[in-house]
């Protein structure tokens, strides 16, 4: 590997995800993504930052989930806490990302159910959680308050803040000391704008992760890649409004044409391959957390990261 490139002066900030007992929570592990001073794979060491983490995505209403995943997984998907536990114990994920898809139902107003789901998943797994709240401005405030409250002390990563709707999620994060996923549509300037907006309403930089928005491999991923590279360059050159670790999701992969059109015999393999390569590429572009949905993708990614990142394991010093 090449010599370490000249020091650009900047450093990616750390974000605390999950809180162990010592940190005031109940998680069995916590992570500190961030800390990079260079682009991935350009230094003497594989990477100065942490090894990329693999988040496994689940939801509380599988009716909104990819049939590839639900048919592979079976009845488990109807039991959200058990699904979370399986992600940890069986698939070997580093984090669980919970989508509150139940809030997509028309006229959703069963807010107490959110607290219940949150409590169930928090007891089902000891892993740190990423929680994706509603996607509907009318209920955002209530949903995010419930998530934030249920996860108080657990240092959740709450999503998703966008330029058009960021106040509710940021308010909940600030009230209960969680972090926020800040997503913008594949553009360095828009990413920066959103981070500034969040900063200006009082969210600290060490409570934000950037989701640059990643298309699937072969379906626009190259744009995401170059934007991620530019975001990282800007941060390393000292732009503190972009110096946050990144989180990416490869889940569009499950709906690309090649996967949809694949025969039943090979569909899972193709889906896994597509997720794997998209997630791996995101990690190479600088993503600290990659999110996937197919159970078989998780161990493959873990192995790839372990080998590429020179044997360092998540959570190790």
């Amino acid at each position: 590997m090449a010599e370490k490139s000249p020091d650009m002066g900047g450093k990616i900030g750390y974000v605390l995800l999950g809180a162990t007992k010592a940190e005031g929570g109940t998680r069995s592990v916590s992570y500190h993504p961030g800390g990079e001073t260079d682009l991935p794979f350009t230094g003497m060491k594989a990477w100065e930052g942490s090894v990329p983490l693999v988040a496994f995505e689940i939801c509380d209403d599988p009716g909104y989930w990819s049939p590839i995943v639900t048919s592979y997984t079976g009845d488990l998907v109807s039991d959200t806490p058990e699904w979370a536990r399986t992600a940890e114990k069986q698939y070997g994920a580093d984090l669980v990302r919970l989508y509150l898809t139940s809030t997509k139902r028309r006229g959703f107003d069963d807010f107490p159910s959110i607290t219940k789901v949150m409590e169930g998943v928090l007891s089902g797994t000891g892993l740190p959680l990423v929680v994706e709240g509603s996607n509907e401005p009318a209920i955002d405030s209530e949903v995010f308050q419930r998530c934030g409250e249920a996860g108080q002390g657990e240092r959740l990563l709450l999503g998703t803040a966008e330029a058009g709707r960021y106040r509710s999620v940021a308010a909940a994060a600030m009230a209960y000391n969680h972090s926020v996923v800040a997503q913008s549509p594949i553009d360095i300037n828009l990413a920066k704008q959103l981070n500034i907006l969040l900063r200006e309403i009082g969210l600290k930089a060490d409570h934000m992760m950037i989701d640059p928005y990643t298309g699937s491999l072969g379906y626009g991923f190259e744009y995401s890649y170059s934007v991620m590279e530019r975001i990282r360059y800007a941060a390393l050159k000292g732009d503190t409004d972009l110096a946050m670790p990144m989180i990416t999701s490869a889940t569009d992969s499950l709906s690309v044409k090649e996967v949809r059109d694949a025969g039943p015999a090979v569909r899972d393999d193709i889906a896994v391959a597509w997720e794997f390569y998209a997630a791996l590429s995101s990690a190479v572009a600088g993503s600290s957390i990659v999110c996937v949905r197919h159970p078989k993708t998780v161990p493959l990614l873990k192995q790839a990261f372990r080998e590429l990142w020179a044997g360092k394991m998540p959570g190790e010093a």
Partner: protein, 638 residues
């Protein structure tokens, strides 16, 4: 043939069936507000059918009207086809109104070196002993009066034809008007008696929207009259692209005639105001954008609006007034400013001349904002320029209650950062009916200061206040209540209006920054920012910086050159030496094609924020914003 009666004036006109109401309106010479050129896109040419029926697609164009308006027979004049006799009510709001136009330009000293002169001569009549021809007598007489050498002067045929009568009828006492032309002097007029004081020239700013004429005495150089009016081409489309499209559809002769007519109207009204005879105007200098200049010359502008955007001519041109239809002295010459490109025209060269930036060592930035904007950066040694579309938002277009600077437009506004109440001032101090560009800039700056909008321009609907509410389509801020407005409506600004405004200002700022980066210049190296055009005179400079319309420099370094086009044309009129430098200036300006500049899009997104994503470019604004936030709780979550 159907007869159309226009209300409230009861003007009548007959047209062939199948014409639109707009055709009839134009034939009746009613000055209607046609922003899109009759494409049914802008919804400004609203009329009400009060009698008879028309063909009009209410489904398709329904979005421009309220149910109430439709009930009263509202339709778009450009889309309503006449079949039978009609009574058509034209509301005041659909007419072009008297606009506030900048008349005062700031004077820069320049040498008085005109290119036309008058000589009064008293000649001895010919005799058998001295049978020299009339012309020989005249040129010798002029030379004796201190004029040019006799052999350098010549007379065109029409002057020669009139010469024997004028000389003899006047008892050999005549005034000859001479014009400097390549290779010598042309006698362009011969008048009886002493008419030396009657020597004038006119400087014209031929704008897409307005035409300004400024008449100067060429005996001593002082301004004697100035007047302006709308460019009559507006009836063929408001923006320049609609004009070119009109020209493409065999409309060039009409546009050319309207350009000349607009100039004639401005000259006539300036001349009448000063008590001057049009026949005494011997020289015309025109500064206009490249497309307007082409149209005035009757040259097809079509190839300038399509790739690779090529004008027919870039150099300065001279021709005679009658050939263009300009009604002044019949042998008067017309001087037309050169252009840099199809987008940087003679008006900008005139701006540069008026600002004097091309004669100094210090670096200046010149910004000319209209529907299109032009930016020039540089000094005596080098210059970069670029142009782009700012969109109509800064002039009040694409904004729900946006309007031109007409009576009733809110031109100044402040918002109390604590109570969020507004305080405003309208043109002519009448009840407000809308808001014009300078008001919009004030408004946006104060909404930002008051934390009503965030830095992307989104309205914080979490703030509980009667003025902040969810409108029909977008969140909005109420500027003036129905009870205080002049149109019986709440005057509001919507989040969508703000978005359009930000898009407009972002393109100007991104262009400035792109040029500065191209030249390796930082904002601290800018000695002056010049605003050209009326716009610059009316806006609050602090607010223009607050929203990031231009790069931040100390306020005292921002100067308005007023109507730079007419000022520059004036300089060329009274100082012929300046004209020679124009081609040189134009040739030395590098034109940066923003579309071909990969970094422009980045700059644009960075600038689509208030004032910019990079606050280090706006240290003063950053300080101000921090202070504003200290006073407020910005989160505003209910």
């Amino acid at each position: 043939m159907p007869t159309i009666t226009f209300l409230p004036s009861y003007r009548k006109i007959t047209v062939d069936p199948g014409n639109t109401i707009l055709d009839a309106i134009q034939r009746a010479q009613i000055q209607m507000n046609v922003v899109c050129g009759g494409q049914g896109k802008c919804g400004k040419c609203i009329v009400f059918i009060k009698g008879g029926t028309v063909e009009f697609d209410r489904e398709k164009f329904g979005k421009f009207f309220t149910a109430d308006e439709l009930g009263q027979g509202a339709c778009l004049a450009c889309q309503a086809v006449v079949r039978d006799d009609l009574h058509v009510m034209i509301p005041e709001s659909s007419l072009i109104q008297q606009q506030k136009i900048l008349m005062e330009s700031l004077g820069i000293e320049t040498a008085f070196q005109p290119s036309v002169w008058k000589y009064y001569v008293v000649l001895s009549p010919p005799t058998l002993e001295d049978p020299s021809p009339d012309l020989t007598r005249l040129v010798w007489g002029v030379q004796k009066q201190g004029g040019p050498l006799a052999e350098k002067m010549y007379a065109p045929l029409d002057v020669l034809r009139g010469m024997p009568r004028v000389l003899r009828d006047s008892g050999w006492r005549v005034t000859a008007t001479l014009a400097l032309v390549p290779g010598g002097y042309r006698i362009i007029d011969l008048e009886k008696g002493d008419t030396r004081p009657g020597l004038y020239g006119v400087a014209i700013d031929l704008g897409t929207t307005t035409v300004v004429a400024s008449i100067r005495s060429l005996v001593d150089g002082h301004v004697v009259g100035i007047a302006s009016n709308y460019n009559r081409q507006i009836s063929c489309g408001e923006d320049i692209l609609s004009r070119v499209n009109f020209a493409r559809k065999n409309g060039l002769p009409k546009l050319q005639a309207l350009a000349a007519e607009s100039i004639n109207l401005a000259i006539t009204s300036a001349a009448n105001g000063a008590g001057i005879d049009l026949e005494d105007i011997y020289e015309v200098v025109v500064a206009g954008n490249t497309i307007m200049t082409h149209i005035l010359l009757g040259i097809d502008p079509a190839y300038m609006i399509e790739e690779p955007y090529v004008p027919v001519v870039r150099r300065y041109l001279t021709t005679s007034a009658p050939r263009l239809g300009i009604e002044v002295a019949k042998n008067a010459s017309v001087f037309l400013f050169p252009a840099v490109s199809d987008f940087i025209g003679g008006d900008i060269i005139a701006d540069i001349l008026a600002s004097g930036m091309g004669e100094r060592d210090e670096i200046s930035l010149l910004v000319d904002i209209g529907t299109n904007f032009e930016v020039v950066l540089g000094n005596r040694d080098w210059m970069f320029s670029c142009a782009g579309a700012a969109g109509p938002a800064l002039e009040g277009g694409e904004v729900l209650f946006g309007m031109r600077a007409n009576p009733g437009a809110i031109e100044r506004i402040t918002i109390d950062p604590v109570t969020l109440e507004s305080e405003f001032q309208t043109i002519n101090s009448i009840k407000p009916v809308g808001i014009c560009g300078s008001g919009l800039i004030d408004l946006l700056a104060d909404l930002l200061r008051a934390c009503v909008v965030d830095r992307t321009g989104r309205i914080n609907t979490g703030i509980v206040h009667p003025r902040i509410r969810q409108g029909t389509h977008y969140p909005e801020y109420v500027i003036a209540w129905k009870s205080e407005s002049g149109n019986n409506k709440d005057i509001v600004i919507t989040e969508n209006d703000i978005k359009n405004l930000i898009m407009s200002k972002a393109s100007v700022l991104a262009a400035c920054i792109t040029l500065m980066k191209e030249a390796g210049i930082t904002r601290t190296e800018l000695s002056t920012i010049y605003f050209s055009g009326a716009f610059g005179n009316y806006i609050h400079k602090e607010n223009a910086i607050m929203i990031g319309l231009i790069p931040e420099v100390p306020i005292e370094q921002i100067k308005n050159i007023g109507n730079g086009a007419v000022e520059g044309a004036n300089m060329a009129l009274i100082n012929r030496k300046k004209r020679k430098t124009l081609d040189e200036i134009a040739k030395n300006i590098a034109y940066i094609e923003l579309n071909a500049e990969p970094s422009f899009m980045d700059e644009y997104t960075g600038s689509s924020f208030l004032p910019h994503t990079d606050l280090s470019l706006f240290p003063g604004v950053q300080k101000m914003l921090d202070e504003c936030r200290l006073k407020k709780s910005p989160l505003g979550v209910p």
